[in-house]
């Protein structure tokens, strides 16, 4: 599970929950590291907090919405996966037990990395306007050596790259997360959406997980599922 698809537009969003108070991104990190039990996180409350903090006038409002929808979708999926252990059978054996002390240690380390990253961002911004001299002499002809091995390697890389976002390393579920982010985003922003319409271009796995997510969201109260007749079309409606 990863939140890599999300940007960092939410870096200033903080949450106050019973189980946790602090930056939202930390909360995600805690859950990812399975150091905070997903069951303890009231997703609905989280959505409410976000909606209250939301500023539609902000220049990056859309990016924030997308990021939030993406990460919220991931949380829902995580929760639904945890609810149905058949999907995840490897949760036994090599599970690391972490003492609160070790956890604090790790989080402190991560916080330092984040601070380092912020400092780096500022430095890069401050140095952005430096353009190097354009008067560099080319090296003497024949001095440059290309490594044929690297050329072949590059060819292999380019020609086997899919044009979709590179997510192979994240496993098939992640594709779904990105789709889910837009699915949920659309549901929240544009009003009712039919399930059939949502999953029309999805493969079976995506369709299944989108369905699970829709159910989970409905269970959370974040959206309503309506079906006029048994086996009839299913509609996702935002909760007012």
């Amino acid at each position: 599970m990863t939140f890599e698809a999300s940007g960092r537009s939410l870096s200033d969003f903080t949450v106050e929950l019973d189980v946790y108070s602090g930056p939202y991104e930390w909360l995600l990190a805690l859950i990812l590291k399975e150091e905070l039990d997903i069951f303890e996180v009231p997703l609905r409350e989280l959505v409410d907090l976000y909606l209250n903090a939301r500023n539609p006038e902000a220049p990056n409002a859309l990016e924030r919405d997308t990021d939030f929808a993406g990460s919220a979708a991931a949380l829902i999926l995580l929760k639904s996966r945890t609810l149905s252990p058949i999907l995840e059978s490897e949760a036994e054996g090599d599970e690391e037990t972490i003492s609160p002390e070790q956890l604090a240690e790790r989080l402190t380390e991560y916080l330092k990395i984040r601070r380092g990253a912020q400092a780096l961002r500022e430095r890069f911004a401050a140095n952005m306007g430096h353009h190097p001299t354009a008067h560099a002499l080319p090296p003497r002809p024949g001095r440059l050596r290309l490594r044929p091995g690297l050329l072949s390697e590059a060819a292999r890389r380019v020609f086997s790259r899919r044009l979709e976002p590179p997510v192979e390393h994240l496993g098939p579920i992640i594709v779904t997360l990105q789709e889910l982010a837009s699915v949920i985003h659309a549901a929240l922003v544009r009003g009712p959406v039919s399930y059939e319409e949502l999953v029309r271009d999805m493969d079976r796995l995506n369709t299944a997980v989108a369905f699970a997510a829709a159910l989970s969201l409905a269970q959370e109260g974040s959206l309503r599922l309506t079906q006029a007749e048994p086996l009839g079309p299913l509609t996702l409606e935002p909760v007012a």
Binding site: H131, T133, A134, H135, L137, P138, P139, R140, P141, G142, R143, L144, R145, L146, P148, L150, L151, S152, E153, A154, A155, R156, R157, V158, F159, S160, R161, L163, P165
Partner: protein, 205 residues
């Protein structure tokens, strides 16, 4: 007038532009980039000519080919030449190798076809490779709106790779599977049938 020209001394703006140009820059171009009237540019250039005179500096400002150009003071040429002798060429980036391999196996190609193959805008990388004489414009693609330039690898490239010709490189099908080759062909066909795609995802980690 642009904001920055109010606070930054005029000669500074011109110095900076001249540093960033390997070719002579005319008065008109200096004026439009700085937002300053040509009269001001002339005055500033007079200052700079003084500052960058052969007596005062190892960098000299010359008025050549209808423009202004910074270059090394000829008196310093022996040191510069020795430096050039010693200096190790900058190794190429992974992105540069990718652009070269696209062009090697599918060239000549337009810039937008290269970007299409890689899935990211590659214009900056292409420019760098042209500067390094590893790629060159070899013609134009008349079938395309705007007749974009076609790029190919250069003799310099073959020398650098220690190869006599394209035949000296492993064949494409020895590197990737049939399925991939077909997909790449499809992408190329798309690139040449569509208008140049501006919608490439930007190259950001």
């Amino acid at each position: 007038m642009s904001e920055e020209s109010l606070s930054v001394p005029k000669p500074h703006l011109i110095e900076a532009i001249l540093l960033s140009s390997a070719r002579p820059v005319g008065l008109g171009a200096l004026s439009s980039a700085t937002g300053l009237p040509e009269e001001d540019i002339r005055t500033a250039l007079a200052d700079l000519t003084q500052r960058y005179s052969p007596e005062n500096s190892g960098i000299v400002l010359r008025n050549v080919a209808g423009g202004y150009l910074l270059s090394t003071n000829p008196l310093c040429a022996p040191a510069v030449e020795r430096f050039r002798e010693d200096v190790r060429p900058t190794p190429l980036s992974g992105a540069a190798y990718e652009v070269l391999s696209c062009t090697l196996y599918h060239g000549p190609l337009t810039r937008s076809a290269i970007s299409q193959l890689r899935g990211v805008n590659s214009d900056a990388v292409v420019r760098n490779l042209i500067d390094r004489s590893l790629l060159a414009e070899v013609g134009t693609d008349h079938a395309h709106p705007g007749s974009p330039a076609l790029l190919d690898v250069t003799d310099e490239f073959f020398v650098a790779a220690g190869a006599a010709s394209r035949e000296d490189f492993p064949t494409l099908d020895s590197l990737v599977g049939e399925e991939e080759i077909a997909r790449v062909r499809e992408r190329l066909a798309q690139a040449s049938s569509e208008t140049p795609p501006a919608e490439h995802p930007p190259e950001a980690p």
